[in-house]
Symmetry: C3
Subunit: 153 residues, 3 copies
C-alpha cells in the first residue's frame, strides 16, 4: 500500500468563501504515485467544510446566500423571517456565551460536512465532468488547515 | 491491496427519484474479492447524491417533499411560504442566468452529499439491518453516472 | 494492508443525544497498528449519525434545537411556524402510517450523515485542535450499533 499526506493552509479575506482545490488534491495524488485508491480531503476545523460541485460563480453565490438563511448568523440581521425563526430561541447561540460569534458556522459545517472522499483510477481523481473540489470557509480571516490523505496502490 | 472499479448509468423517467443500489454495490465488492476494506459509492454529477437509509416508500416520499421545501426549485411554485423565503432573494437562482433551471438540485446535492463510504467485513457490506444504499437523482431524465470504488484485502 | 473492525453499542436515556467517541475510535486505530490510513466511523442505523465538531455543550444544545426546527418531529408540537411548515403537508410523516413516530430522525440522519472518514497519520487520528467525533442519536432509548473500520499500513 502507498500513502501520502498533504496539508493546505487558508487565510481568507472574507468570512465566507469557496476556494477551488481540485488541482492541489490531484497534485497530492501524483506525489503518492497511487494508481487505484481513495483520497480523503478533510477540513481540520469545525467551522469549515469540503464540497464537490460546479465551479460556477452563480451557484457559489446562491449557496452562500442559502446557507445564511438555513444556518443564520447572529452577528448580522437575519436575512428574512424564516432565517430569524431558525435562530436559537431567544435570538442568539448558546455557543456565544463564551465570547464566540460563529455559532452559525458550526451548523454550516454540519450541512456541508468537513470532508469528501474521492476515487482514484489510473492515477487520476475519478470525477464527473463538472465535479470540482472546494474548501468551504465559514469563519475565515485567520489561518485554517485542511488535510489530504491518499491511500492505495 | 485489491481494488475494483464499477460504473453505473441511470436515466430516470422523473426529475427526482431514489433508486436502490445495495445489490449492485455488493456485486462490485464480490468482483473485487476484497474481504476487509471500504467501498466508496459516489455520484459523478453535481445534481445527484447517495443516501443510506430505509427502503420504505413513505420515507422516500417524505424526503423528496421535504427537500423541495428546504431547497426549493424555481421552475414550479414554492410549496409554501417557508420554501418561498428559502429561494434566492429576487425569486430565482443566479445559476439560471446561464439558461439552467436546476439550481435547487445543487443544494439538494449539498444536503444529501454525492457519496457514502461503506465498510466491508468478511466480503460483505457491513450494514445495519435497515440500511440500504440509494442513488438520489435530483435532475434526471438524462444519462447520469455513478462510480463504485472498492479497496481492501 | 492492515485492518481492524470494532463495534460500539449505545442505549441512550434520551431520544436525542450527542456522545463523544473520539477516544474509542483512537483505541480501534491503536488495536489495528495502522500508521497511515483511514478510519471509517459509521452508524449502523438510519435514525442516527456521526458528526465531527467541538465538544462544547452550547453547540450541542444549539444543534439539537436547530435540528428540531429544520427536521421537525410530529410527536411534539412544532417549535414554531417555520418548523410547522417544514412538516409534511397534512402534518404527519407518511412513514408513520406503519406505526412509527420517528420520521424526523430519518431526515436528521440525512442532514448529519451516518458516517465520517478520518485520516490516520503516524498512528494517530489526524484531527484539528477542536475536532472531536460524536455519535448522534436521534431516536434512542433502545440498543443502536456503530461500526469502526480501520484500514492502512
Amino acid at each position: 500500500m502507498k500513502s501520502n499526506t498533504a496539508y493546505m493552509t487558508f487565510h481568507t479575506e472574507r468570512r465566507r468563501e469557496l476556494i477551488r482545490i481540485t488541482e492541489e488534491v490531484q497534485a497530492a495524488v501524483d506525489e503518492s504515485r497511487v494508481q487505484e485508491g481513495l483520497a480523503l480531503v478533510s477540513a481540520m476545523h469545525i467551522t469549515a467544510g469540503v464540497w464537490v460541485n460546479d465551479d460556477e460563480p452563480g451557484i457559489h453565490e446562491d449557496t452562500l446566500e442559502w446557507l445564511d438563511k438555513i444556518a443564520p448568523p447572529s452577528w448580522q440581521a437575519p436575512a428574512n423571517d424564516v432565517a430569524a425563526a431558525l435562530l436559537p430561541d431567544g435570538g442568539d447561540y448558546r455557543h456565544h456565551r463564551g465570547g464566540e460569534d460563529n455559532g452559525d458556522a458550526h451548523l454550516k459545517n454540519l450541512l456541508v460536512h468537513q470532508q469528501a472522499v474521492l476515487p482514484i483510477t489510473g492515477g487520476r481523481l475519478d470525477l464527473g465532468p463538472w465535479q470540482q473540489v472546494f474548501y468551504c470557509e465559514f469563519d475565515g480571516r485567520r489561518d485554517k488547515r485542511l488535510v489530504i490523505k491518499v491511500i492505495g496502490e
